[in-house]
Each structure stands twice: as C-alpha cells, then as structure tokens.
Amino acid sequence: MDEFLSATIRGLAQGSLYTLLGLGFVIIYKGTRVVNFAQPVLMIFGAYFTSYFVLALDLPFALGVLAAVLTTAAIAAVSERVALRPMVGEQPFSAAMVTVGVLIALQVIANDLLGLELRQMGDPWGLSREVLGGVAIFHRDIAALLITASVVAGMAVFFKLSRIGLALRAAAFDQEAALAQGVPVGRMFGISWAISGGLAALAGLLVGTGGAGVDQNTTFIALKALPAIILGGLDSIPGAVVGGLAIGMAETYTKVYQPEHFAWAGANFDQVVPYLVMLLVLLVRPYGLFGTKEVERV
C-alpha cells in the first residue's frame, strides 16, 4: 500500500509535467490548428536557461525561473513569427511539418548550448523528502504538483477574465469573426506560442529538478505529452490536465509494478506505456476523451 501511495504521488508529479507540456500543445492547437512538434526543444531551452540564470548568473531561483520562462516564450514567439505565420491558411499537416523543421533546427542550437554535460537546475528542494507514515514523498514531486496546479489555475483565470484571454478564445473560436471585432488574430497566434513556450520552459524545469538534470537526450521525453493530449482530446484544456495526469500515473505504475509482474514486456516498458494507452483509448474514442468530434460537411 505504501508503495502504491508513493507511486501515485510520483505518477501525479510525472503527469503534471505532461500536463504543462500538453497545455502548451492544446493552446497552440486551439488557436492555430497546428500541433507544435517544436515543443520538446522549447522545453530544453527552458531547462537550459533556468540552469544558466540560476547557476551561472547566480540569480535567485524564482527570478531565474521567471527569466528562463520569458526567454523561452520569446524564442517561441519569434519562431512563430518567422516560420509559422507564413503558413496561416495552409494544410494543418504542412504547418505541423514546419514545426518539425523548427524542432530540428533549434535542436542544433540547444545541443550546442547544452554541450556534453548534464545541466542541473539549482532548485532549492533537490532530493530532500518527507516520510509520512511509511510513505516517502519527495519535495520535488510536491513542487511539481504545486507549480502545475497554480499554473493551471492561473491559466483558467487568465482565459476567463483577462482581455487578452478573451481575445485568444475569440480568435480560436472563429478567426474571421474575431478579426471583424478588432482582435489582431496574428498577434494572438504569437501570444499563444509565447504562452506555450513559457509552459514548456516550466516543464523543462520540472524535468531537470531533483538532481535529474537535463542533457542532449532529454528532448524526446516531451513527446510523451502527445499521447496525453490525444487521450484528453487535442482541443480540450481539461483534457490536457486529465490526460497528462493519467498518462503520468500509468507510466509510473508500470515502472513500479511491471518488472515483477510483467517482466516479459521488457526493460523500459514504462517508456512506451503512454503510446499503448493512447492506442487503446483511440480504438474506442477516435477524438479522445474530451475532444470535439468534427462535424463535417461536403
């Protein structure tokens, strides 16, 4: 039971990482109908800049994270302006392919910045933990959950109450109508990219905390957020939260229990469980759990 509880908390923390990344995917998808395959590299940039600002420039941790979030958001907004804006109105797949190109190109820069070492985040919680009635709880997991919870709440408030949030929703709902009402739709695209860049940066921080560190091979962790959003539905923000947490927990339970119960599935099976869960869910619901089914007309 203790093992189960600590696996649950671990899983929720892992899931909160996918939630942050998934939110980024969904915000861009809702706004521009593009799946942003460049998200993984934005996450790496976030982790690198956090490491750079906190450890190399010696900024206070919170300030360093904020600076990293802003820098990554700026990189995301610039990529959108340069590479994605000309693709407005093209096939969604063409635009998705452009983001793959952006991923490949930016990855070169990220790898060059990272070098060959493992970058630590300089986070205050590190590997410390509490033991509550036999259940070990790592501070980094609590931190991940708290950060994600506050970000999700903040996003909800931002989209519901702020002027820009309203404009973003309007642009996502109907671009022409939003344009007619004076919403600068192009700028909204940039803002949604900047927001998901910032979310990816936070995810990068979470990947690297607790001594895990970030190096050149960390990138593809972020792709596991894709099963999460497919599970929840590509265009559903609650779906990203639920999907992210579910995938994180499925992955962690597999990691804990599979080696003793299903050893035949092979080492590192937990790494592919997200994709397996995604396939099974899509067999039943082709648009995910919360996604809107597209109404089609000829």
Binding site: Y29, V35, A83, P86, M87, E90, P92, F93, S94, A95, A96, M97, V98, V100, G101, V102, L103, I104, A105, L106, Q107, V108, N111, D112, F220, L223, L226, P227, I230, L234, A265, G266, A267, N268, F269, Q271, V272, Y275, L276, M278, L279, L282, L283, P286, Y287, E294, E296, R297, V298
Partner: protein, 370 residues
C-alpha cells in the same frame, strides 16, 4: 496526332506514362546515363547514390499513403525496421546471438515487403478511423512501440548496442556484396549495390505509377481531396485507406531491407522518429504525390550531408571535425535540413518537382512569360 504530342483524345493516352516523345527521349537518356554513371564514379559516391535509389523506394511508399491517399504517417520507420529485420532473419546465418534461416534473396526480398504489408493491414483499420493530426500522432506512437519491440526481441535483433548483420545479398548462388573480377576489370561491391538499387527502384516505380493511374489510385486521390465526397460517390473509405497503408508498408519493407544491406549492419536504434521525419522530408522536399518528386527528394536528403561535407573547403568558420570552429559540418547539415523543411513548406509547397514544373512552363512560353 504526329507533331501534336499535347493533343489528347482519350483518357488512356492522357494518363499514359511517358506520354510524349520528349518524355520518352529524356527517360531513355536518363536511364542510359544512370547505367553508365557508376563506371565513372568513386566507390563512395556509388554507394551514396545506391542509398539514394533505395531510399527513393521508401519515399515512393510514403508518397502513396501520405501523398496520394492523404493519410499522414509518421510510422514509416517502423515498417522500414520490420522489413530490415525480416530480411536479416530470413537470410542471415544463425549464430550464438540471433536466429537466421540462410535463405536466398529471391525469397527474402519479397518477404521483407510482405510481412510489413501484413502488419500494415492489421494496423490500418485502427488508423482508418482517425484523421489528420490524430493519425500522425498515433503513427508516431507506432514508431516508439516498434523501437521497443526491436530493442527487446534480442533473439531476432541482437538488442541495443550489439545489433545484427543485415540481410545477405546473395541471389541464386551469386554474391552481390562482394567484388568480382571480370578479366582485368573489377566490379566493386558498390557498383553492384548501385545496380540492385536501380533495378529494384525501376520495378517498384513502374508498379507505383500503374497503381496511381488505376481505379485504386484515383480512389486514393478522391479520399485525400474530400473523403466524404468520395464516400458519397461510392469510394469505400476504409478499404482504400487499408490498401494504401498495406502498399506503403510493402514499399517501406523492401526499402528497409535493402537499405540495411548498404551498411551491412542493423541496430534497433536506427528506426526511430528521425528516420520517419527523414522520409517525410523526402516527399515534402521532393514533391507530394509525384513519383519523380520522391526520387528527387530522396536524392536531396541523402546527398545533402555529403554536399555539406564539402563546405569547409570554401567557408572559413565551418569546422569539419566534431568540435571547434563556429559550427561543425554535422551541426550545419542538421540546421540546413531543418531550415530546408521550413523553407520548402513556406516557399515551394510542391517541392523540387514544383520548381521543375515552374521552370519548364517558363521556358516553354519563353520569351512570353505570361
């Protein structure tokens, strides 16, 4: 009709491959050129062009499912891997690590296509339910699951780090992967690879051309352009999506098996997402839904690294080693690849083939550019 090659009086003649004398002439000229070329090149370049030919087979396969039938697949690498391992298991020797049956090439080459095609048939009904980006992400999952399988089925694949030797190019007792001396002249391994690649590519390309101009091919385009409209007109959606997936997987399997013979070695890690992206880049850079585009794109993607290797001779701040300089050739190559995808998608969505068509129409109307 003599002297008026552009005049079409029937659908057949409109759809005929090499429909004009000029096309026939240039095709023959290109073919003769392609046959003579390897005798004038170094072994390294021959091997590289052989790789391009073989990759073009895979690119044609991806073009059938993604270009013609409009079903975006990021799972191509998985089928490539399946083909490579089928070939290797059927032809290789059994040693202490891996299973091998030691069969001839005329058995393993078709089998390397058939097994992926069958797996494609199994996967396709799931995929046929999905659309657009959902499909892309699910096929992405296929790649990760496949990589896991390849890593774990050690008795077939040798496992991570160890790998296994690829399929053996031996047909009717003739070793293709060894040099032979004919009199005083040496036919190198690379030249033979080149011709194997060329012949298989020609056969597969002709088959693909015929498929795309048949009833099934027209149904593919209908499904791609407007699936519901196609359904209303009596095109069975699921059936044609499944056919597209199976045929595409067949091509991928053949490509994967042959591609692994160029290096002679297979490692589970080589069938990841990046391989899929490479093939998508081939068809997008070459030209979606065109066969010559697949070939051009494959040549571009395969030859780009070799071209970039030449850059340090001309540009000072590019370093040919693995470190130092402002940027290494490897970094530059990857950067150019990424930027190339972006640039083609934005500036010339029809790819190299589109550029060729534009150039052709320009010169046909010259000097009247309008």
């Amino acid at each position: 009709m003599r002297g008026r090659p552009e005049l079409r009086t029937s659908y057949e003649s409109d759809q005929a491959p090499l429909g004009t004398p000029a096309k026939r002439f240039w095709f023959a000229a290109l073919l003769i050129g392609a046959v003579l070329l390897p005798f004038g090149l170094t072994s390294e370049l021959n091997a590289l062009i052989a790789t391009a030919f073989i990759s073009a087979i895979g690119a044609i396969g991806l073009n059938i499912v993604t270009g013609y039938a409009g079903q975006v697949s990021l799972g191509h690498a998985f089928f490539l891997g399946l083909g490579a391992y089928t070939g290797a298991v059927l032809s290789g020797p059994t040693d202490r690590n891996v299973v091998g049956l030691g069969l001839d090439m005329w058995i393993w080459l078709p089998a390397a296509g058939l097994l992926p095609a069958i797996v494609g048939l199994i996967v396709a009904p799931v995929a046929a339910r999905l659309k657009g980006l959902y499909l892309a992400i699910v096929t992405l999952g296929l790649v990760f699951l496949g990589e896991h399988l390849f890593r774990e089925m050690v008795f077939l694949t040798g496992g991570v780090g160890t790998g296994r030797s690829s399929a053996k190019l031996e047909m009717f007792g003739t070793r293709i992967d060894q040099r032979t001396e004919i009199g005083s002249y040496t036919v190198t391994r690379e030249m033979k690879l080149y011709f194997v690649g060329l012949v298989v590519l020609l056969v597969m390309a002709v088959l693909a051309k015929n498929l795309t101009r048949s009833k099934v091919g027209r149904a593919f385009s209908a499904v791609r352009d407007r699936d519901i409209a196609a359904e209303v007109m009596g095109v069975e959606l699921t059936r044609h999506k499944v056919i597209a997936f199976a045929v595409s997987s067949f091509y991928a399997g053949i490509c994967g098996a042959l591609l692994s013979t160029t290096t002679g070695f297979i490692e589970p890690g080589s069938y990841g997402l990046l391989t899929s992206v490479n093939f998508l880049a081939m068809i997008l850079i070459g030209g979606v839904a065109t066969l010559s585009g697949s070939l051009l794109g494959a040549a571009f993607v395969v030859l780009l690294p070799r071209l970039v290797q030449e850059i340090p001779h001309f540009v000072p701040f590019v370093e040919s080693g693995s470190t130092g300089g402002l940027i290494t050739t490897f970094q530059l190559e990857t950067l150019l690849f990424g930027a190339g995808i972006v640039a083609f998608m934005i500036l010339e969505p029809r790819g190299l083939f589109g550029m060729w068509v534009r150039a052709k129409t320009y010169w046909r109307a010259w000097p009247f550019s309008y």
